[in-house]
Symmetry: D2
Subunit: 396 residues, 4 copies
C-alpha cells in the first residue's frame, strides 16, 4: 500500500527533514581554507552532547562497531584484561570483538532482560587487588532486549572499590536520547553512532575519550592506523581530518546537533521517557510483558515485547512489515522468535508512536495473539493526554 513505510526499529531512526537537507549538499573540498570554521565548532558542540568539558570527541567514518574497535585499540594493550557482562546481543558482540582484537575478557553472564550487574562488578573490582582489570565495559542500552543500565551507579561502585580501571560505555543507542554524562559519571570512553539519537544515516562512529583515556592512548601498543586517535587529534586540532571525511554526514551532524541543542538535552531525554512510557502502557494493556525484567531496566529508546507462549514473534514482525508497512525490530540470538521490538528514539512524537502501537496490535491480532483491539492505543493515548502538558511546554 502507498504512503511511507513506518520505521520503528531501534536505529537507524528517521532523519528529520532539515537534517536530510543538510546532508544533501553538493560535494566540497574537505581541505578548503574555510573548513576549520565549520569543523572546530562542530567538535566543540559535540562535546556538549557527550556532556564533557575535559574530554575529547572523535568522529570516524565507520559504524558503531568501528567505534568500539577504535576505543579499544587506542587505549589498551594486547592481553589486557577487561570486565564485561553479557545480557544481550550487543553486549555479546562487544565481548566478541574484544576477544578477537586480543583482550582477555572476564565475562559476567547475566539473564537477558537484565543489565549491567553493578553489585557484582563492584565485588569483582574489589577482589581485583592487583588491578589486572584495565577497563570495565558497560552497555548503557542493550538494544536487543530493551534494557537500560545504571552507569552512574556503576561509577559509584567502581569508586567504592577504589579501582583504577577505565570505564567504557557503549552508548550507541542511548547517547543523545537518554541521560548520559561523560564527565559527571567519569566515563573514559563512550561510543556512539550516527544512526540513533543523532538522527542521521549510519556512517559515523562518534566517540568521547577522557583525559585518562587519551593518556593511555599515548602508550597503547595495539596496531592501528585508520582508527588512530593520534592522527585525529593532530589534524582535528587544525580543523581537518587525516583522510577524506564524509563531509555530507558532517554537514548533517551539524544540523542534528543544532536541533538537539535547540530542543535541549534534558527535554530530549524527557520526551524519550514520555514516548517510551506510552509504549509500556500499551504493553500492559495488552497483558504482555517486556523482555526487561524489572522497571529499573526499562529502556527509553527501545521496548522488547515478549509474545505469549506458542506464538512466534517473527510472525508478528513479518505481518507488520508486509501487511502494514511497519518495520519492527526482531529478537536476536537467545530471544529470537520470543520478542519483537519497537524502537522509540530519535525524531518521534506521539502520533507516530501511536501508529506503531496500532500496527503492532493489528499484526498481533492477525497472527492470533489474544489481545484486545485498540487497547494498547487507548492506554498510550490516555498516558499521553494526561502527561503531555509539560512535554508540550518544554518543546516551546
Amino acid at each position: 500500500m502507498p504512503g511511507p513505510k513506518s520505521l520503528f526499529v531501534p536505529g537507524p531512526t528517521n532523519v528529520p527533514e532539515a537534517v536530510r537537507k543538510a546532508i544533501d549538499v553538493p560535494m566540497e573540498d574537505h581541505r578548503a581554507p574555510d573548513i576549520p570554521d565549520f569543523i572546530l565548532p562542530l567538535f566543540a558542540d559535540l562535546k556538549k552532547i557527550f556532556r564533557t568539558e575535559t574530554g575529547q570527541v572523535f568522529v570516524f567514518p565507520a559504524s558503531g562497531t568501528g567505534g568500539w574497535e577504535a576505543a579499544i585499540t587506542n587505549t589498551l594493550n594486547p592481553g589486557d584484561k577487561v570486565l564485561a557482562a553479557r545480557f544481550g546481543q550487543f553486549s555479546h558482540l562487544w565481548i566478541d570483538l574484544c576477544q578477537r582484537i586480543g583482550l582477555e575478557v572476564e565475562v559476567v553472564e547475566c539473564d537477558w532482560g537484565t543489565g549491567v550487574p553493578v553489585e557484582e562488578f563492584g565485588k569483582r573490582l574489589a577482589a581485583d587487588t592487583d588491578h589486572a582489570i584495565k577497563a570495565v565495559l558497560a552497555t548503557q542500552n542493550e538494544t536487543a532486549t530493551g534494557v537500560q543500565s545504571d552507569i552512574a551507579g556503576l561509577r559509584r561502585a567502581m569508586d567504592a572499590a577504589n579501582h583504577p580501571a577505565m570505564l567504557y560505555v557503549d552508548g550507541v543507542s542511548s547517547i543523545g536520547s537518554v541521560d548520559f554524562r561523560m564527565d559527571d559519571w567519569g566515563v573514559d570512553l563512550a561510543v556512539s553512532g550516527s544512526q540513533k539519537g543523532f538522527m542521521l544515516p549510519a556512517g559515523l562512529a562518534i566517540l568521547g575519550a577522557s583525559q585518562k583515556a587519551l593518556k593511555a592512548a599515548e602508550s597503547a601498543q595495539m596496531r592501528r592506523c585508520y582508527f588512530d586517535f593520534a592522527d585525529m587529534i593532530k589534524t582535528n586540532a587544525t580543523g581537518y581530518f587525516p583522510y577524506t571525511p564524509p563531509m555530507s554526514l558532517l554537514r548533517g551532524l551539524r544540523a542534528s546537533i543544532d536541533r538537539m541543542l535547540e530542543e535541549g538535552l534534558d527535554n530530549i531525554f524527557a520526551r524519550h521517557h514520555f514516548l517510551a512510557e506510552g509504549v509500556r502502557r500499551a504493553v500492559d494493556a495488552w497483558g504482555l510483558k517486556l523482555c526487561a525484567t524489572q522497571s529499573k531496566w526499562h529502556s527509553d529508546t527501545v521496548s522488547a515485547i515478549v509474545v505469549p507462549e506458542g506464538f512466534d514473534a517473527n510472525d508478528v514482525i513479518a505481518r507488520a512489515y508486509h501487511r502494514y508497512g511497519l518495520s519492527l525490530g526482531a529478537g536476536l540470538s537467545v530471544v529470537a522468535g520470543k520478542v519483537f521490538r519497537i524502537g522509540h528514539l530519535g525524531d518521534l512524537n506521539e502520533l507516530m508512536v501511536l501508529s506503531a502501537i496500532a500496527g503492532a496490535e493489528m499484526a498481533m491480532r492477525d497472527v492470533g495473539i489474544p489481545i484486545e483491539a485498540g487497547s494498547g492505543v487507548a492506554a498510550a493515548e490516555e498516558y499521553y493526554r494526561q502527561n503531555g502538558a509539560e512535554m508540550a511546554m518544554a518543546a516551546e
Copy 2:
C-alpha cells in the same frame, strides 16, 4: 514536539518521496528541442486519469479556481444561464465565480450535508424547454462537507430530460481519488487541481474538455487570454506551452501519473474507499455523526465530523494542531465550528489514517467531548484487518 506534522486536511495532500524528487530538478529550458518528447506523452497519460479518449486535457499554471475560470470563460458567453446547487463552501464559491464572471446562475439551495439534487436538476432541465440552461454544474466532491455526488446519475437525469446543456464537474477533490469517467458519464468540462489526488503541490489547474466543449470554445465570447484554450491547443499540439510552464511541477506530474497508473485507478479508488470506511467506522464508534446526512453522500476523500452540541469544532482543531501536530480541516461558513474534517486522500495508508484517528480522539477528549479513548482506533483497526486482504493483494 519533534517529528513531522501530520497533514489530514483534504488537500494539499502528502507528496510521495518519488514525486518530491521528480519536482526538485534543476531548471531547464521549456523550449528545448526534446521537451515535446516529455510533454506529449504526459498529456496522453493525463487523459487516462480523466478516463477520456475523445476529450482534451489542459494544464494551466493556476489553482483549481483558475481551472473553474478557464472552464467557463472558454465555453460560455456573457449572460448565459447555468444550473447549479449550493450545498457547501466550494459549490458556493463556484456559483459566486460564475456570477462575478457574468453568468446567470439558477441556484438550487440544498442542505449542507447533501449533494447534487439529481432529481430536482432533472425536473428543472425538463422544464427548460427552450434550453436556456447552457450548462449544469456539479461538484462531485464537496470538500467542505464531505459529500460525494452521483455524476453518473446526473448524466442519466440530463439524458432523461433530453437536455443539450453541457455538464461541468468540479473534480478538484475527487479526480484521481474516486471513480470519475469523463467519457462514460458525458462530462463536458472537468476541473481538477494538482494538490489533491495528483499528490503534488498546488500550482496546476488540470482540466478535461469534451469535443462538445471544444466546439463551444470556438465561438465563446468571454474575454480571456491567460486561460485561453485556443493558445493551449495550438502550442500543446507541438509539445510546448504558450508561456513559461512550471516545468518542475510538470516533471512532478509525470511522476505522480506514473505512480497512479502503476497502482491502477481502480485500485486507487478501492484504497480510498477502504481507508475512508475506516474513518467512518471510527466516527460510528465515537457515537458521532458525519455532516453527510446519508451514506449515499459519504465522500471517500474527506469526512466532515459533527461535534456534539455545546462543543466548538475549532477547539478540537486547535488542540490537534498545537498539541499533537495534526492538521485537520475546519468547518467553513455555515458549518464553521460545527464540524472538523479529516482528509483521507492521496498517498495514504492504514497506519497514517489510524494516527489521525488517534490524534482526533485525543483532541476531542482533551476538549471534553465524551468519547471513549481508543474506540475509534479499535473500530478502524478491525475494519482494516478484516477487509484489507484484497487491498494488500491489489497493491502487489
Copy 3:
C-alpha cells in the same frame, strides 16, 4: 555527455541550492494558524524588492502572462486606450493580450533592437489633451532582443507631458536583476514572475500596484475572479489566500528574497552589469554585434547576439544544445534565425558565464562562423579580472 546541462536561456534561471531546498518541503495546511506569521513578513519583504513603500504586492499562482492579465483586468475598463511600443516578441505579446482582453492599444512600432521610445511617448501624451490614454505600457527588459529601456526617463517624460495616465511596467526579466524603483519612478503596475531574478521555478506572477492603481481597481469593470485584486487584498491582509496557494513556491520565495536582501539589491544589480559586460566584451572580441542597436539599450540580463549574414542562429543553438549541453535562447519572430541569446541573470558567477561563452564560441566555430577560438573567453576573463575587485568586495 554527463554532467549537468548549462542553462543560459533568459529564464527560467538556475535555482540556488538553498532555494531548491526551501521549495522541497512536505506539504502543509495553508489555513494553519501560524501561516500568517509566514505570509505577512513575506509580503512586507517583497515590497523591498519592488522598492515600494506605498504600494501593494500581489502573488498569483500563474505565469508572467497571468500577471499581465491581472494588472489590466483589475485596473482598466473595456475599451480603454493604452499606449504601447512594439520592439520585440514580449512587448508584442503584451499588446496582443491587451487587445484580446478588450483594450484599444495605440501602438508605436519601433525597430527590434531599440526600446521604449521615450521621446515619442512624451509627444503622444502631450498631444493627448483629453487624456484618452489611460495607461502607458513599458517593457523594461525586452527579453527577445536584449534591450533594456529607461523607465525613469519615461516617468520624466510623462511628468513633463503632465499626463495622468498610469505607468505599467513589464519587469518580468528585470525586477530583482537590474535597477527598478517602483516608488521613485512612479510605477503604477509592475509585473514580474518567479523564474527570472527571483531564481525560482515558474509558477508565480508577482505584481506591484501603486495606490493610484488600487484606487482604479475599485471601479474597474473588467470581468475577473481568479485574478481579482480585491479578494487578494482582503485575505492577504489576514495572512492567507483566497484559494490554495502554492505553498512550496512561497517557501522558496522566502528563501530567494532572503538571499536577495542578503546580497543587497544594489550589489545584485552591479553583479548583473558586471557579468553582462563580460559577455559584451566577448561579443566584441568575436567581431559580432548585439541585437540592441546602441549601448544605451544593452540589457544586463540577456544578450541577443546577431550571427553574421549567411548563418542561421538556430544552427548555433542546436549545436550548443546537442553537442555541449548548453541551452541558449533562440531568436523569436522577426529575429528568428538571426540571433541567439545568452541569458545572464539570476544565480550566476564569472566561471559559469565563461563556460557559456566558451560553449557559444565552440558552437559557432562548429557551424563555420569565423571567430577566433578563445577570443571571447579571453576578453571576458580580462574584464572580469580587472573589474571584479569591487564585485568580490561587495559580496563579502
Copy 4:
C-alpha cells in the same frame, strides 16, 4: 559571488543529481526481509566495475584509508615484507600505514612525477628468490602528482619474475574512471573509495579481492574485527551486513553503478581521457609543465601543474578559491607550493572543464604568472571540437 562553487579537486567529485536523489531517501531497516533483493545484485554489479568475475567485492563504511587497512590486515601477517614505491603523498601514506600496521616495507624511492618503477620492481622480485616479498603494492593513480602507472605492465613484470607475491593496487582515484581490469591483470587486492569515480560522497571503502587473496585471508593473523573479510563474506552472502551499513550511500551506489554501466566503462574511460587531454592542451598553451615527467605518466583523472620558478602555487589556489569560487587541489608534501592540481574525474563534461581552465588562467594571471589570457581555454576548446565527435556518439 553567488552561484555554485566549482569543485575541481581530485575527489570528492560532483555527485550527479540522480545519485544525490538516490542517497537522499528515508531511513530503512537494514534487516528488512527485502534488503537482499537490493544488496545481492548490487554486489554482483560492483564486480563489473572492478572487472572481476572470479573475485569478491567488499564494501566497508570507511574512507579509502580504511580500505587499505582492510586489504592488509585480512591478508598479511605481522612482519611480512611488501614491496612498494614512494613517488607521491598517497603512495607515501600507504607505505606509512603498512609500517604502522606492522609490515616490513621494501621501499623504492622514485622521483615525484614518475610512477611505479615496473622494471625495478621486476628486478627486485627476480632477486627475491626465497619469496620473502609477500605483496607488491602499486598506486595506479598517484593523486598528488597526477601520475598514472602501468598495472598491466607490472603484472607482466611479476609474471616474468615468476614471483608468487600478491598484487595490491590502490585504485582510489582510478577505478571507475580509467581502465582497470582486476581479473585480466591478476590484481589480488584492489582498493577504491566512493568519492572519486563512483561519484558519491566519501564514506565507503570499496575493495576487490581475488580468490588468492581470499585464501590468504583464511590464515592471516593480523588482529582485526571491524574490517574482517570473514564476517562480511558470511553476511553479505545472505544479502546483509555484519553491522549497520550506511544504507543511504548504498542506495546511492546503486544509482552510480547504474549510471556507470549505462554510460559503459569503456566510454567512461574514453571520456576521462578526452577531458584530461583538453587540460593538458591548455597547460601546453600556457607554456607550463605537468608534474608528471613523461606523457606515459599522464593521469586521466588529475593534472598537477607546475607553476614557474618564483611563484607559489598556493597563491594560485587561494586566489582561485576566494576570488572565483574554484576549488583546485594543492600540492602536498614535497611538491607543496610547486604545483596546483585540477581534478578531472567523475561527472564532468567539456564546459565544466573549460570553466576550470578559465578560472585557473585568471587566477594565475592575477598572481602575476605570465601566461596569455584565454590561451588555455582556446587550446582545450579546439581539442574538444576536433576530437569530440566520437565522444558525443559514444554517449548516445
